[in-house]
């Protein structure tokens, strides 16, 4: 179960990063500011690193 949960979490992070990149490239800042998007992206990238750091 743990394996599937991790896969699901990683899929969600990648989906969020894709959305954030689209908002940045399209300068779509009406709902979330550029700063907020970049902060979210940093947090998600950190989470992603944690998944892989376990195996280093």
């Amino acid at each position: 179960m743990e394996k599937f949960r991790i896969q699901h979490d990683i899929k969600n992070i990648l989906e969020r990063l894709k959305i954030m990149m689209t908002m940045l490239t399209e300068e779509n800042f009406d709902v979330f500011s550029k700063e907020e998007i970049l902060k979210d992206a940093d947090e998600d990238l950190e989470k992603l690193k944690e998944f892989f750091n376990k195996y280093q």
């Binding site: 969600n12 989906e15 969020r16 894709k18 959305i19 954030m20 908002m23 399209e26 300068e27 779509n28 800042f29 009406d30 709902v31 979330f32």
Partner: protein
Amino acid sequence: MDKIICLGKNYADHIMEMKEGTPELPVLFLKPQSSFIEVKNGSTVNLPWERGEIHHECEVILKLYKKMVIGVGIGLDLTLRDLQKSLKEKGHPWEVAKVFKNSAISSPIYGVKDFNNWIETPFQLFINGQLKQESKVSNARLTPNETIHYIDRHFPLCDGDLIFTGTPSGVGPLKPNDEIRLVFGPVDISFKVI
């Protein structure tokens, strides 16, 4: 995208044309990612004509991030109407009439900044040059915020999920080789169903 959440009976004029009762709140159902297709100008979309009448339901589509609308588009929620009717009469679930390959057709999703006021922007479906459906999101029974809160009470919402917000009146059958045109603010795309 984790899933597509669809609303039924969210426009009063469509409820009237279907001659069915009005539920207290719109009905909710899901379509999986595998039923989804994004169309561009000149696309062709294959449909299962052998399964009976396929009805178009033109709808505004919302894309969510952190339970907020970050993008909008227009699309068709396709329905196997004969099959749905027969299942409804038997009191059975009608999911199989809604979930089939290419049953959730979407334009490219635009950022909300690309619209002047997307809630008040007319959305239109033309088939072979004839206007078939037209409305605006402000005519729906639930506002976009109410829709999100309503769905959130029933389904886990994920970033990237799409909401098909229900169809206004004018639904009807498609035929092979129909030319479909979807218009909504900056969106104006034409494609063919085969």
